[in-house]
């Protein structure tokens, strides 16, 4: 009996010691939706952070399903005070989140505590997290789409410029000449486009609209004035490529990537987040010489759609965060921003200026080849209907898929899209 008591006493003392240590250490509950090649790199960053902050702060991270499931979960958990301490968030989703009151403001004091400021960010990126002059998230990166290309095939057909980029990136005629050149050389599908996935094609189409200074939303109206025409122009270009057999039809996301990496399509328009896929394949000796550049200028001037991964702090209903915990969360965000050079290996362009201005970043390939894109970025319109996996996406997708695969006329699609978007409000 005495022995058992002794063990119990020992256990209690041990438990006490552990809980004392826990008092000094803050655990930050973290949610993200990064499950691809960039997820692996994020896990590396988290474990580096935990190592450097041993005994002070631990990040307890969970990766959840991207898109609607993630945002529904955040919405419902914040409402009952069970949201994490911090999470990744798409800048495009911030207007909706703010209208729902589920994000905490990042106050001027917070920015100061993190040692970050507006000067550290590109104006478009800063603007993307700002609603009514208040910031609701800390941008971590921007992730535009880019044009991936197969150097071997292009070189063999004399379609590379002297500095090793595809020919004809500066005009519609030029780019189409490159596509046709590949077609003539016996390539079945010169460009791998995600034509079966309208939500994905939104990025390309919105970029082409922006190249004509087109806007999706002016005031509260969708596609007002000649914006509808600009959308139609963009759709016509892409539908034309399908009709001429220059790009893949009914191709979903994994298939598009597979067509490129298997060498069947020498060109691919896709997000920078596929860079890790290429790097990893290349390291295993399974990929040709490849490169990535800013998407071609089809209309008047360069412009590329981008979104931004940010860090946000949920406004947990009825559950105030302790000052210690808050400080820990800010330390995590600040550390991540300042150590985001490694995040660039995931293809993304870090949002924190001092990192992108560093010599190390400037020498990183392929990021350096498309770093120019930072000056030409356009973000989603600021609307509660916008954002990845939002209502605008569904409407667009429904009409993009038939249009880009030759089942519907672009003019008809634009008319329907205009009607339906305005009907959403």
């Amino acid at each position: 009996m005495r022995k058992i008591l002794g063990i119990a006493m020992g256990a209690m003392i041990a438990a006490g010691a552990v809980s004392n240590a826990a008092h000094a250490e803050e655990t930050v509950i973290w949610w993200d939706f990064l499950s691809g090649g960039d997820g692996v790199r994020m896990k590396q960053l988290i474990s580096d952070f935990n190592e450097q902050h041993a005994g002070e702060i631990t990040i307890d991270a969970t990766t959840l399903e991207w898109g609607t499931p993630f945002y529904s979960k955040v919405r419902t958990s914040a409402a009952i005070g069970e949201a994490p301490d911090m999470m990744t968030y798409h800048a495009s989703r911030i207007p909706l989140a703010v209208s729902q009151g589920i994000l905490s403001e990042i106050t001027p004091d917070d920015w100061q505590a993190m040692g970050l400021s507006q000067d550290d960010y590109a104006p478009a990126t800063w603007d993307a997290v700002t609603i009514d002059d208040k910031q609701y998230a800390v941008p971590f990166d921007t992730h535009p789409i880019v044009l991936y290309y197969n150097k071997d095939v292009l070189a063999a057909n004399d379609l590379l410029t002297e500095d090793g980029k595809p020919k004809g990136l500066d005009s519609r005629e030029g780019f189409e000449a490159t596509l046709k050149g590949l077609k003539d050389a016996g390539v079945d599908y010169p460009l791998a486009s995600t034509t079966a996935d309208g939500t994905f094609m939104f990025r390309t189409i919105y970029s082409f609209m922006a190249q004509q200074d087109g806007e999706l939303m002016t005031g509260d109206e969708f596609l007002a004035g000649d914006n509808a025409e600009k959308l139609q122009n963009s759709l016509e270009v892409l539908a034309g490529w399908t009709n001429d057999g220059l790009q893949t039809t009914y191709t979903d996301y994994p298939a598009a990537v597979a067509l490129f990496t298997s060498g069947k399509s020498p060109l691919l328009i896709n997000g920078v987040w596929e860079v890790p896929t290429m790097i990893d394949l290349k390291d295993q000796g399974k990929l040709f010489e490849w490169g990535a550049v800013e998407i071609p200028v089809i209309f008047d001037h360069p412009a590329t759609y981008a979104d931004s991964h940010t860090f946000a702090i949920p406004a947990n209903a009825g559950k105030e965060m302790t000052p210690e915990k808050h400080a820990a969360v800010l330390e995590v965000i600040s550390w991540m921003a300042k150590n985001s050079l490694f995040w660039a290996t995931a293809g993304h362009i870090p949002a924190y200026g001092p990192v992108t201005q560093s010599d190390e970043f400037k020498q990183m390939e392929p990021n350096a080849a498309y770093a120019s894109v930072t000056d030409n970025l356009v973000f989603d319109p600021k609307s509660t209907l916008a954002g990845v996996a939002g209502p605008i996406y569904d409407v667009m997708s429904t009409y993009f898929v038939p249009t880009l695969n030759g089942e519907m006329e672009p003019a008809e699609a634009v008319e329907e899209i205009k009607y339906e978007l305005n009907d959403l409000q």
């Binding site: 609607t68 529904s72 919405r75 419902t76 409402a79 909706l96 209208s99 729902q100 995600t194 079966a196 996935d197 309208g198 939500t199 994905f200 893949t248 039809t249 009914y250 191709t251 979903d252 996301y253 298939a255 597979a258 067509l259 509660t384 209907l385 996996a389 939002g390 209502p391 569904d394 409407v395 997708s397 429904t398 898929v401 038939p402 695969n405 089942e407 339906e420 009907d423 959403l424």
Partner: protein
């Protein structure tokens, strides 16, 4: 012997209380709440101002609701009776087998039923993928043009209906088999002595005797298919979601993507009423035709 009536009632109450409590908490209360929310301009969480019947009247002008309504009706037409007939036919076939072979074949037909919907989706996506699907190589072999099944409104609902029947008919087969085994062998012996043909035996004996089971299967299928969602949602990803809407998908969109709890609530109430009306009608109809048979 004297029985203590009040004591008995107390015991009965005590025994059913846990169930009633849970039933009230997770069914009755949310249902009442749903009706209340459907009259409010509410977000997905919490209440909003009362707006009367506005959420309901808006449904009629909403062409997405219209799409959802007709797609659901179309899907029910494609699955309920065809699915029941397929299951009945397979059950008749299996019933003719004996012993281990019968168990094996039954297991093979039942196997898809245990798969989660995401696995079903992946299997059929791999099969029918436009670029890399196995079925597309068959199309090529036969010299047919490839069809992008799930991105095409003509093919979408029939394809999802086909997948659904493939996935769920195992359970109906089990019910039919149980029914077939309950028919006494003597009846068939008597029919055989009377020189009844296979077709006559089926029409005059098997079919009427199996009618209660058939009615049950029809009923289960009907209620299940009116609530179709998961397959449609998964196969729509990235494709043409607004053309493929079904009622539950519409509710999901309104609630979780548009943050319009009130309008989602109204649509859910309409679906709820449709399910009740259709099942009562179906029940009465099957009862009537049973009386006649």
């Amino acid at each position: 012997m004297l029985r203590n009536k009040s004591n008995e009632a107390l015991v009965a109450l005590l025994l059913v209380a846990p169930f009633v409590a849970i039933y009230g908490l997770i069914f009755i209360y949310p249902t009442i709440k749903l009706f209340i929310v459907s009259f409010q301009d509410a977000p997905i969480i919490g209440n909003g101002p009362f707006v009367g019947f506005e959420n309901y009247t808006r449904l009629w002008g909403d062409r997405r609701f219209n799409t959802a309504f007709w797609n659901t009706a179309y899907f029910v037409a494609l699955t309920v009776i065809p699915g029941t007939l397929v299951a009945f036919a397979i059950a008749l076939g299996i019933n003719r087998l004996k012993g281990r072979l019968q168990a094996l074949v039954l297991a093979l037909f039942f196997l898809p039923y245990i798969l989660p919907v995401s696995v079903v989706y992946l299997i059929w996506d791999w099969t029918l993928n436009f670029q890399f699907g196995i079925a597309m190589h068959l199309f090529d072999l036969l010299g047919l043009e490839r069809v992008s099944i799930f991105k095409n409104t003509t093919w979408f609902m029939p394809a999802v209906a086909f997948v659904t029947i493939w996935w769920t008919c195992g359970f109906s087969i089990l019910l039919f088999l149980a029914g077939l085994r309950a028919i006494p062998a003597e009846i068939y012996e008597a029919a055989a002595l009377d020189n009844s043909s296979v077709w006559t035996t089926f029409r005059k004996l098997t079919w009427p005797l199996m009618w209660p089971i058939t009615a049950l299967v029809l009923m289960i299928q009907l209620i299940l298919q009116l609530k179709i969602f998961d397959q449609v949602y998964l196969f729509s990803i990235g494709g043409r979601p607004n053309d493929n809407l079904v009622l539950v998908y519409y509710v999901f969109q309104r609630a979780f993507q548009y943050d319009q709890g009130g309008r989602a609530g109204a649509a859910a109430v309409v679906l709820f009423l449709i399910v009740i009306i259709v099942s009562v009608l179906n029940f009465q109809l099957t009862r009537l035709s049973k009386g006649r048979g």
